[in-house]
Symmetry: D2
Subunit: 368 residues, 4 copies
Amino acid sequence: MINKSLQTKNSSSSSDPYRVAVIGASGYGGIQTIRLLRDHPGFQITYLAGNRSVGKNWSQLCPFIPLSEDLVIQPVDPERIAENSDFVILSLPNGYASQIVPDLCSRNLRIVDLSADYRYQSLDQWSQAYSRESAEFKRTDSDIFSKSVYGLPEWYEKEINRAQLIASPGCYPTASLLPILPFLKQGLIETTGIIIDAKSGTSGGGRNPKQNLLLSECSESIAPYGVIGHRHTSEIELIASEIAGTSIQLQFTPHLVPMVRGILSTVYGRLRDPCLTAEDSRTVLEAFYQSYPCVEILPVGVYPSTKWVRNTNKALISVQVDTRTSQIIFISVIDNLIKGQAGQAIQSLNILANYPSEMSLPLLTSYP
Amino acid sequence: MINKSLQTKNSSSSSDPYRVAVIGASGYGGIQTIRLLRDHPGFQITYLAGNRSVGKNWSQLCPFIPLSEDLVIQPVDPERIAENSDFVILSLPNGYASQIVPDLCSRNLRIVDLSADYRYQSLDQWSQAYSRESAEFKRTDSDIFSKSVYGLPEWYEKEINRAQLIASPGCYPTASLLPILPFLKQGLIETTGIIIDAKSGTSGGGRNPKQNLLLSECSESIAPYGVIGHRHTSEIELIASEIAGTSIQLQFTPHLVPMVRGILSTVYGRLRDPCLTAEDSRTVLEAFYQSYPCVEILPVGVYPSTKWVRNTNKALISVQVDTRTSQIIFISVIDNLIKGQAGQAIQSLNILANYPSEMSLPLLTSYP
Amino acid sequence: MINKSLQTKNSSSSSDPYRVAVIGASGYGGIQTIRLLRDHPGFQITYLAGNRSVGKNWSQLCPFIPLSEDLVIQPVDPERIAENSDFVILSLPNGYASQIVPDLCSRNLRIVDLSADYRYQSLDQWSQAYSRESAEFKRTDSDIFSKSVYGLPEWYEKEINRAQLIASPGCYPTASLLPILPFLKQGLIETTGIIIDAKSGTSGGGRNPKQNLLLSECSESIAPYGVIGHRHTSEIELIASEIAGTSIQLQFTPHLVPMVRGILSTVYGRLRDPCLTAEDSRTVLEAFYQSYPCVEILPVGVYPSTKWVRNTNKALISVQVDTRTSQIIFISVIDNLIKGQAGQAIQSLNILANYPSEMSLPLLTSYP
Amino acid sequence: MINKSLQTKNSSSSSDPYRVAVIGASGYGGIQTIRLLRDHPGFQITYLAGNRSVGKNWSQLCPFIPLSEDLVIQPVDPERIAENSDFVILSLPNGYASQIVPDLCSRNLRIVDLSADYRYQSLDQWSQAYSRESAEFKRTDSDIFSKSVYGLPEWYEKEINRAQLIASPGCYPTASLLPILPFLKQGLIETTGIIIDAKSGTSGGGRNPKQNLLLSECSESIAPYGVIGHRHTSEIELIASEIAGTSIQLQFTPHLVPMVRGILSTVYGRLRDPCLTAEDSRTVLEAFYQSYPCVEILPVGVYPSTKWVRNTNKALISVQVDTRTSQIIFISVIDNLIKGQAGQAIQSLNILANYPSEMSLPLLTSYP
């Protein structure tokens, strides 16, 4: 529940753009956030902070995305953040966000966090999924979890609007949950045996150099990783269970694809009613998402490429049914850095600011 | 059953290399076949034939893969093929092979066919799966089906050795069947609910120009195609059923990946015995394939990239078990043009000629 | 010189958007043009025409770029084009445009032509450079050449504004001319010995399927083509000569790079004054282009990647001087489909319509 | 000049393979060297050493390239190297090799060094080109320079055969020198105004993770780097000057291309005799290289792709002449990791061991 001061601030009638601080500016999440916010009429970037790049001008870091005011990267200082911003977007490594969120919360700032630090219902759940970070970062912020909301706007818009802290979803969970949640909510598919075979471009691995993300290594190659036990499994299961109203365990296998951007999730489920057709299934999705401009359902038989949504905040979903096996197959594509990360965070920011959810977000790709 | 004259020919004590005709020389299948045969001490390419390229020298078609004798591409003429060769490799579009195989058979030639024309048990089965080709090509060769053997050497070596006609497997079936056949044979996994999520490089689509295979279209993109109903579904089901001893229907979803070569199949099954571990499962595979040099089982927890087998005739397989869900997950990679096509055909040719199955085939990649 | 009726039309005070016909809608030039025009407040697409796709809905051709009105592709009919549009953008194969431009001109339409048909000063010049098309298409339109203007907006803005027919430049000429024209105009570099080594993504080869543009062929590969005698050589020489005021012959070597979009031209020239520094040279460029928002000069020592301008109408230029050899080296990057094609055409259209040249054109990429 | 003990050793009549130590095993140079040596009948890998990977088994580092004996990575210890090997291949970062070469030389080992440490004629020259390494590594080995020979086998075969220390050439110099040296030697082109515009895959940047070599950064991108002043400029100028018999200064511009392997050098020169044709020029090259199996001259008008030499030790060269401008244009392609690095080192090793220069080296690609 959000406190009084925030409510007041939010209902300000001023037409000035809100001030936004972006913390963690030099990774892909930060670059995307800045790229999207700089053209947003309702927000103004007033503070950039980071670690490795403190003291550098933004134009040095990113000469090809100029800002009207060439900000200098500042240290991560909650007091100065609070002085300079109404909203904060955190684009920091997992575990790190938890070290400043309590302080930011106490200053009545409203926060969208791109990390996984508050996507779970408790510190215990998080520590189990993020054991390495749990060992590295001492966390004493169990009380903050109750303030956070899972920032999947098509499912939690009202909660986001009232929240102080938004835990923006992971890229794989976004692509994988959007197609199946309507079916889980309506009990149309079995809650066991769900299989998510997901494929991601390399930018999902971030901008810090790692050998396995070199072009020399991952070009001309596809490979799985994190087979059983990838962290996003628990995040997907948590939200799927919540919407289904029953505990769900499923299979999630991510693969690394030689391309920069994009996630494609191929999701397999078993229909409860073997007579449900592909057209019926499309109608279920269409009915659910018709008022959400960032999700689009394709005609039966049209299967999307990740390229169709590159550089956009759109999810494209296709559904097919194999009547021989009663399997239902969902194909879902997003841009992992936009709808899977920074764009979705700005969707939440729009909702916080009482703007239309999709305001100023790109919904159309430039092909090819 | 093979007839007498073939037997005699095959047991020739001469140390001269066998003469091989390659029909369909300018596609990827043909190029690979020629590339591999040219360095094979046991075979000599004596006849090249094609359609569009008749009359051209091989060196014009492929200046970077010179042959010791620069053959001219000939028309597809069974009589001349028979005069000039002991064995024939057919690398022709589906449907086309069926137009000359009966004639070649009647001349007692032994044939390895890369197309799908004889992979089924009857003309009816083929016509159902290949309805378009069935409409285009009039086939009256039902009797030939009984002479053909499915050319998956690790499973049908004896049959291949005695056969006149080898129907070399498709690339997806090769990658997908190798990991699951031992489990189906031993009844270790359920025969329902098998899901094959496969990913292929673009060379699987052939060398004839098509818009969807342009770099401009498929670079920076992953997309599924043929969701439910892809032709290889029936081929996989046919062999899986034969080995399992019971009729199997499964899910097969191919995806196009922005890389030239390689197939990765992620195969999901349900264990009959929930106590079977990943190590146990690895042992099952290892036990089955230990005497087959073209298949290698990786340690549990090591997942292959398609790059590890590029330009080789090797299949690398990894297996994992999720004890929470009793799902077993196989990862299988091959080079679609070698183990998935031309290399596997030469494996069969080796077996026909009583050479070691892997003779002269590359088993080691050049990384990266 | 433009006739009266056009003048009147153009100075219309109505705030309604101008009506634009796009002829040749299904190639990359057409797709880009439509993608850019659909969000342009000053223009409205009112007519789409093509050849192979006549009768199809736009949404069938391009499901991922919806138009507010789902137009049906029409035949190329000048009368109906004239009824339905104020301006025409032609995105047709070379030679084909010349078959309808005279008719369109006679109907007082103003035209931006993406082809090479009117980039030369005479039919003879064109026939020499485009001999194959010259044999295929009978042209009797020599008189039209005097009406056409070379549509490089940074150099011919006034002429474009008054013209009826704009011959929009080729992609290579755009990337290659922008850096050297200021030096040629001011006589700062020798007019002999200029070398242009250019590199292009595959989309420059168009969307019609060709073997050499398959991902399987051009991935993991770089190769030159059209070494000496590429058609763009004559186009570059023509404009370079015009600006220099003396006849110029130069070297132009294009290369095909395994990426979708982008051209990088590395241009080598010899300084007349060996004391001119890199900073001086940068100042020359900066002074010339400072009022042109679609051209940006980078600081000395910062070299652009094609990725920095992908999906934008911007040219980024860097200049360096080797004082040992008195060579000056220009690096110039553009998106071949935007600043090198459709975007530049819309720049001309903006100028025709008395809008700001860069109106509604993207100038900022989304990285990575 | 090589000393007595080496001579004796080298003329050993034993048919046992020579023992080779590979120092620096986990980078791309090391991996390629091991990959090529493991199938070489004349050499046996008996010692692997490295820094970061000491104590690990080779099979852990590189599970897809198994060695018959799974060696453990040893520390870089000259005494143990000398005990275990006849020849040493050094694949270490620049500067580092100089710290152990004097010791290895004093133990009468014969060495092929992949680094730049001994490619120059003096320590001064090296320090100037490699100033950063010169500051990091204290070198007191000026006397060693006289023992080293530039390991370009087509030009220095006799010298290599007698040398103790081979400085194996850089990848760019190899690709760039091969086409022009015959013309410089015969005085057929001007020694001023030579321009080398080179394009390389990313594996030339090595296997250590760097941000600019991430697939996310360099995919869909081409960019120059080291414009004027790249270190290979001085290496190319040194050898070009030596062969021409006069001091040469030239332009060298490298570009990073989104592919793993391959270098293409486009070299521009001015003909001294404007009547020399492309065919004449081809004859000059053909005459020079006809007895060298690792260099092949293409017919006039056929231009190579880097893909034609991938995974091989071959250089393909094409030459063209523009009679309008008297410019001669060379196109030269190699695999940067084989002919540009490890393969060329083994060519030198073959020569040291009195084997045929190309023994056991791959000369034919597997297309596509």
